[in-house]
């Protein structure tokens, strides 16, 4: 397929976000938290402040740059958690089957049925707003897709020759699961996780909007956007830049996910060859 553009553009956007996040302390202009000067509040973008300043007189560019760290951390950590939970449950359920499988399938259905935003809302309300709560809330509530995929893959791979062979060689269950089965399903899982990262970043914005976002002082894009929404008419730059940052990053993640799917998902590759 020629649609490698999505891989390029998506990879480029995500790569940019990652580079910015890593370099944040070096490419910032001022400190995103402590350099608040109310005398400089709400200056439009210009020479001194390329993206303008916010209500507190802080440089929005520096906050966006640091926000990349927070927002990408939210996306990455929550998706790693989701993937680990989903894969562990899906692998074992598919491999062992029986009662455990029924139980896991039941819980997966349950997680699918309760919308993850509402689940996250409840967890945030219990733990109180903050980064750690957010990571827990988003990391525990979105694993049902990876679980389903892992389970389905195991079911189709289980009967294949090399797995049977490993079993005859006396490999333990866990060893088979993690050395023989897991590598063969990484493709679709990475795709799911990439798309899920975008979802987490958006979920963070939604939770901020609902009043249960991240604790200060370090900004996330979602909380910046949500705080700025009252000032769309008076100081549009307050919301334009975090909005763009979210849009471009999530767009990048989605394009990257699609692109990766074309390469990594062996099934779709096979079918299209």
């Amino acid at each position: 397929m020629k649609l490698r553009t999505n891989l390029l553009v998506g990879g480029g956007l995500v790569g940019l976000a990652i580079v910015v996040a890593i370099l944040a302390p070096w490419i910032q202009i001022t400190d995103p938290v402590l350099d608040a000067n109310l005398m400089n509040a709400e200056i439009p973008p210009g020479a001194d402040f390329p993206f303008g300043t916010d209500q507190q007189g802080r440089d929005i560019y520096s906050r966006i740059v640091h926000g990349a760290r927070i927002s990408l951390t939210v996306g990455l950590v929550s998706q790693i958690a989701n993937t680990i939970i989903g894969v562990t449950l899906g692998l074992t359920a598919g491999y062992w089957g029986g009662l455990w499988d029924d139980l896991v399938s039941g819980v997966t259905n349950l997680m699918l049925a309760i919308p993850s935003l509402i689940f996250a809302l409840a967890i945030m309300a219990i733990l109180g707003p903050g980064l750690v709560s957010l990571l827990i809330a988003l990391g525990l509530t979105n694993w049902s897709y990876s679980c389903r995929i892992a389970r389905a893959q195991v079911l189709s791979l289980k009967s294949q020759g090399y797995v049977q062979a490993a079993r005859i060689l006396g490999y333990g269950d866990l060893r088979i699961m993690f050395t023989q089965l897991l590598p063969n399903m990484l493709g679709p899982l990475i795709v799911i996780a990439t798309l899920g990262m975008g979802g987490s970043i958006l979920a963070e914005a939604a939770l901020s909007f609902l009043g249960l976002g991240i604790r200060p002082p370090y900004p996330s894009w979602g909380s910046m956007l949500s705080e700025a929404r009252d000032q769309i008419t008076t100081a549009p730059w307050l919301s334009v830049f975090p909005g763009l940052a979210i849009f471009l990053t999530v767009l990048g993640l989605n394009l990257l996910g699609d692109g990766l799917r074309d390469i990594l998902d062996p099934q779709s590759q096979e079918r299209r060859a």
Binding site: L38, A41, Q55, G128, R215, P216, D230, T233
Partner: protein
């Protein structure tokens, strides 16, 4: 023929001019008032006794009425359902002459029995009606609340329109019974059950429809006791909690009133059209950072004063709150009769703050946890602004974010070192100061755990004082002691801002809550887009 023609032309001109004058002077009858409910995405309860929410109060004030009302022009309580009230010599017994022309929406006349019924209902020992705290000032109400009596002994019906009320303390009952949730309700309608879904009152508007989460629709009460009022045929309360959405709707002329936050206040003031329709009032809320005076550093008055000196309060109010607030000097707001204009607020003086900290034994400052909500006017943004200011004098504040809902719990349970919040500080100044009286339990409102023998002495004297002028003097003195003791960082008194469309008239600058309008006085002219 010509003369007649001229005469007609002159007459037409005259009529035209009269109509012009009428437009600016005489309220127009008819039309629809469209107000907004900005506090939350739904109504609480339409049963006036069951709620203390400001949002419910907007509707309650249109359908129901309590004994007293708030006079926004003179900032005081006035009689509403009675024509006169006579206090006894000792100031404990009040005799009300009720109006004899008041009808409930079901057509029945209101009598003294209805007042007694309503207050007894509020004290119901099986229900937690928030307004019990007001009715408790009547003698014998507590016994009903505890289930020891069926009737409030302090309420006596002399005849259908004469009521005698005995109080437990020498207070002005007006401060208690102007509250919306002490409204007078008809027994027979309440006992039908489902009163919250079909509220029947005696106010200027009759309940018509409630689409939960969207709007409440009310219609004109033709038998309202104030002749010729209300003016409008209909009143709609649109529930809209999202400020940016409200902004669009207001600019799009879909609503007649809107509540403005700091950001929009700036925008509306700068707009040549919108700036013509801004109503401002100094509300009775004091925004403050409350210290837990039992927490080590805050035990010392000098530390508390140092924080008041370390924060550039004026700058925050000007730049961050956009002047949508008045600088607080002490606890009582500027609308209080005991407010002392001569009192100068703490000056911004980091050097003095450092000196005070040094004297208190904290030359290198200290660290404390600052609990805050996300509220834009008295929460997180303010905390973000004071963090660097405190850091300059060596104090490190660690913000702890909680929901507004949880903040009250945190405050009442004392689970904080310091928290920033909004406090109702009126209209009864004496009751407001009670929150610093050392005999008040923490769970009632003494969240600072503040205790000062000097303050107690003045407060007790004020409470016992019969002469109103002398009492005011003592209240002001107590307030001045609080200024010096600084149990809180005095931040600001809220300036409530209501934006209104050019066609709506008669809105009142209600200092107790700006959205609470006595709607019988509000009218809309022909320019209103709805008929």
């Amino acid at each position: 023929m010509r003369t007649i023609g001229l005469a007609i032309a002159a007459l037409a001109l005259f009529v035209g001019m009269a109509a012009e004058a009428q437009q600016t002077q005489t309220p127009r009858k008819g039309g629809t008032i469209r107000m907004t409910g900005p506090y939350g995405a739904s109504m609480g309860s339409l049963d006036p006794h069951a709620t203390s929410r400001a949002q419910d109060g907007i509707v309650s004030l249109a359908i129901h009425r309590p004994l007293y009302s708030w006079d926004s022009t003179n900032n005081k309580v006035v009689l509403e359902l009675a024509t006169s009230v006579t206090p006894s010599e000792d100031g404990l017994v009040y005799t009300f002459k009720l109006r004899d022309d008041i009808f409930f929406h079901n057509g029945r006349k209101m009598t003294a029995d209805d007042v007694i019924y309503s207050f007894t209902r509020i004290m119901d020992s099986t229900k937690g009606y928030p307004s019990a705290r007001y009715v408790r000032v009547i003698k014998g109400a507590v016994e009903v609340e505890k289930g020891q009596a069926k009737e409030i002994s302090g309420l006596k019906k002399i005849d259908d329109f004469t009521l005698e009320m005995t109080l437990t303390d020498r207070v002005n009952p007006g401060y208690y019974f102007f509250q919306n949730n002490t409204a007078i309700v008809p027994k027979e309608e309440v006992e039908k059950g489902n009163f919250a879904a079909n509220p029947v009152g005696l106010g200027p508007f009759v309940f018509k429809e409630h689409i939960p989460g969207s709007r409440v629709v009310l219609e004109r009460n033709p038998k309202f006791y104030k002749a010729g009022k209300p003016y409008a045929d209909r009143m709609i309360l649109q529930i809209m909690s999202e400020a940016p959405a409200r902004d669009v709707a207001f600019r799009n002329k879909e609503i007649d009133t809107s509540i403005l936050g700091p950001a929009q206040y700036v925008a509306y003031r700068a707009d040549p059209e919108l700036s013509k329709g801004i109503l401002e009032v100094a509300e009775m809320f004091t925004r403050a950072l409350t210290f837990n005076t039992e927490h080590k550093p805050f035990q010392d008055k000098r530390v508390r004063q140092a924080i008041n000196h370390a924060i550039d309060t004026d700058l925050i109010i000007k730049r961050l709150v956009k002047d949508k607030a008045y600088r607080a000097t002490s606890w009582l707001p500027s609308s209080s009769p005991a407010y002392d204009k001569a009192l100068k607020p703490y000056a911004y003086d980091p050097d003095k703050a450092k000196a005070l900290l040094k004297a208190a034994g904290y030359p290198d400052g200290f660290e404390f946890e600052l609990t805050t909500s996300q509220n834009e006017s008295w929460g997180l943004p303010i905390v973000e602004a004071i963090l660097p200011m405190l850091a300059k004098v060596g104090i490190k504040a660690k913000p702890k974010l909680v929901e507004v809902t949880v903040l009250t719990d945190v405050a009442l349970k004392g689970e904080f070192q310091a928290y920033i919040g909004s406090n109702l500080t009126g209209p009864d100044s004496l009751a407001t100061l009670r929150c610093f009286y050392s005999k008040t339990p923490r769970s009632a409102c003494r969240v600072t755990l503040f205790s000062s023998p000097e303050f107690d002495k003045v407060f007790e004297a004020a409470a016992a004082e019969v002469n109103p002028a002398k009492q005011l003097e003592l209240i002001a003195k107590a307030n001045a002691i609080l200024y010096d003791e600084a149990p809180v960082w005095f931040f600001n008194y809220n300036k409530a801002v209501l934006a209104y469309q050019p066609w709506i008239h008669g809105l009142q600058a209600n200092a107790t809550e700006i959205t609470h309008q006595y709607v019988e006085d509000v009218w809309v002219d022909e320019r209103s887009p709805v008929k």
